[in-house]
Symmetry: C2
Subunit: 463 residues, 2 copies
């Protein structure tokens, strides 16, 4: 079907004004008098709508006038400029074909709906202004991330989703199985017999692609992952989902400084891409969702990010300990209240906090010379706190195995990972960006359920 998109009409209007065009879309509102009427339509390709004027010269004038919000129509007509009106042009319809009607029961009538209600109709909510904006921007952010890494010749690696290892804490993982639950096979000892399972062993859904990603960085030098990860945490908060997407770049012949430069470059690139390519949507968020959004993002895109060590940060925070619910002291993990104070009130810009105590960070992080801290970094941003976490990796076989022994991790569970330290080990580093956190940050949306098309959270797996 040869239909022009509303995006194309807005982007290149000089090519279409004064000409006959055909468009297809959905009725957002309709009003009519005895002899003519107006339809506001949206075709999903652009945030703005298109006004259609139709008159009783059309043989189906009555049919059109009876349409409900949500109906699908195809309109042919002359595109005329309307310099005196709010919208730049409208179509004077010569023909209106009804593709599909709607009814008075259509849940998205003109009135405003709460976000809570819209979550119950996740299959229809992308037709509203808010979710048109959210999910177009989500798509653009995803593409900007790919573009950033691909332009720098990073190799995109699909790390596995189903995993036989439980290296990051089995308690929070989802089990994957094809065993007959009503009739589980048993070993002679009476345990569940996973030899009968699809993979011949216990398997779960991954919580991170990092360890697999490192193997590819040691072959391609610069790689990134972008895929789903899973947490079976019983956290019913606005920031946790059981299924979400992560970006995990990993760079070889690189240290923590390179890692921070990569993260800073990526965040600025993505912000600029979205400000450039989703102007209407970003204006909408700034106006209706989060008033300070554009100023905050412009600030991030143009600041040189700050740097502070964890130890320095603790000194800063201890001076104002009375304002915090959780008091800080060296060795404690930073809470969102501390992170936001640092980035919003002290530095007033994005801030890398580096060199955390080893005991609050993962086993694979590179030990610093003080033997107390590791070469880790968290990026804190105003309005949210931590958005990225990364580190240089321990590339020394002896140090890594010693640390694993301290933490009671078994070497045989990490054989492939240790091989990387046996054969051509080199400095390398990486970070993780929770994709949904990033979407929340760039749109100002406050609940993770509103930036995932069909969110999965505790007790909720609808659609």
């Amino acid at each position: 079907m040869n239909l022009i998109t509303i995006r194309e009409l807005y982007k290149n209007k000089e090519n279409y004004v004064g000409k006959e065009v055909s468009v297809g879309g959905w009725v957002r509102s309709i009003r009519d008098s005895k002899t003519f009427g107006f339809v506001v339509m949206n075709d999903g390709t652009f945030f703005e709508t298109l006004q259609i004027v139709y008159s009783d010269k059309l043989i189906n004038f009555a049919e059109i006038s009876k349409l409900n919000v949500g109906a699908a129509i195809i309109v042919k007509g002359l595109l005329v400029a309307t310099p005196e009106a709010k919208q730049p042009f409208e179509i004077q319809a010569a023909d209106v074909t009804v593709e599909g009607t709607s009814t008075a029961e259509y849940p998205l009538q003109k009135k405003r709906h709460s976000l809570e209600y819209l979550r119950t109709i996740a299959h229809l909510r992308p037709r509203t202004n808010t979710f048109q904006a959210v999910f177009r921007v989500r798509s653009l952010i995803a593409y900007a991330i790919h573009q950033y890494f691909q332009e720098r010749d990073f190799v995109y690696v699909h790390t596995p989703l189903i995993t036989g290892s439980d290296c990051e804490g089995a308690g929070e993982m989802f089990r994957v199985t094809t065993l007959d639950m009503e009739n589980l096979p048993r070993t002679t000892e009476g345990k569940v017999d996973y030899n009968e399972d699809f993979f011949n062993k216990e398997t779960s859904l991954t919580v991170s692609g990092q360890l697999n990603g490192e193997t590819y960085a040691m072959a391609f030098r610069n790689i990134y992952t972008f895929g789903p990860t899973f947490r079976a945490e019983n956290s019913n908060t606005t920031r946790h989902a059981a299924e979400f997407w992560m970006i995990e770049p990993e760079i070889a012949f690189a240290d923590l400084q390179d890692d921070m430069m990569l993260a800073e470059g990526m965040l600025k690139y993505v912000i600029n891409y979205v400000l450039e390519n989703a102007k209407e949507e970003m204006q909408f968020f700034n106006q209706f969702v989060d008033k300070g959004l554009l100023e905050r993002l412009h600030n991030v895109a143009t600041s040189e990010f700050g740097h502070v060590t964890y130890t320095e940060a603790i000194e800063i925070l201890e001076k104002v300990n009375d304002r915090f619910e959780y008091k800080v002291s060296w060795g404690c993990d930073l809470q969102t209240e501390h992170e936001r104070y640092l980035t919003e009130e002290v530095y007033k810009k994005p801030l890398f906090v580096t060199d955390y105590p080893k005991d609050i960070k993962a086993f694979y992080m590179k030990m610093n010379e003080d033997n107390k801290t590791v070469a880790a970094m968290d990026l804190l941003v105003p309005g949210i706190g931590e958005i990225i976490g990364g580190s240089q990796r321990e590339d020394d076989y002896a140090k890594l195995t010693a640390r694993m022994a301290e933490l009671d991790l078994k070497e045989e569970d990490y054989e492939f990972y240790l091989d990387l330290r046996k054969y051509g080990s080199t400095r390398h580093a990486g970070f993780g960006l929770g994709f949904e956190r990033c979407v929340m940050y760039l749109t100002g949306m406050a609940n993770i359920r509103d930036v995932i098309p069909f969110p999965r959270t505790v007790n909720n797996c609808e659609f």
Copy 2:
């Protein structure tokens, strides 16, 4: 660290020849005499290698000469043109720093290894020529697909991986659960009590994002998915994996013709992108993996694809039924032997077969006026057979529910899907492309285990 990539040296050599450069990479081979030696190194950013000449003027000459294949080094030195040699330039090393040694036990010594063996060291195989080529091309194909759709303003939708519906056949799905397998909670009737499970119900891993994708096409008009899908099929073949990635575009205000144009455009775009951006890798595949590859791909990229209806195709095939293992007759499904005969011997180019009997296709496909066939299409390509399958969707509420009743599908399991036919239904269509099939097709690799970084198949979930 300020290291230049080997890719950059090759792409812009005029900027570097005659200058001092620093590079980091891994030793592919090394040979030395008493006073000088050669290292061939690869840094993973480019298919070609870089030759390093070093001499006994370096204080660590002996250390370098003892290096094993696989060691990681950083080299500083003068890049000099070598017009008389095979390679365009080499580095005369002024400094060689050993980042990480390797040992004689390193599994990737110079000799050739079988693909079967390399599968057992999936964490190291990306360091070989073959897998450097495969996984860089895999990355480029993924990006080309995003680029194709994003340039056309399609919205990228992340459809859910964990699903509470079993709309496409529960027998082949993986169950997802957090129940204690050794001690399953039971209902008063003695059944497993899924009310105690994480999502309060039975859940599985998705086999397709299409139904969810359709809801977004009815909001954004043009969308695509690109994400993992899962099959718990007990098929131990070279073409089946339990976890693989799929691309599923969906377009509204569009019919089967539009769908085929989109598929043809995408495939040509991706082929051209890879031929352009992975010249060295594609030459390698053509020379060492699949002799006719480049000719076949050029042919696909420049042909206008053929079109034939299923009914016409059966007439063609029936005439030569004696050459087939499976004899055809109207109503049967096409096997690979039939598909390849049509595309390779009859049409000698990619071929769309359309309008299949309704009984061999899914319930959601649009019924044709003959009431016997549906508006489905399969794209067949020389050398492989089917690579894409798609259809126009049934957008008529009455026809769709009637077909569901014939197939004993319960309306309550498809409420959100049926809503799309109640509120502003319109012609729409889409297709599915198995990403790994596409990678196999473009690289000539014959086994799906060799185009997935860490493949998951029956009884195999390593790394």
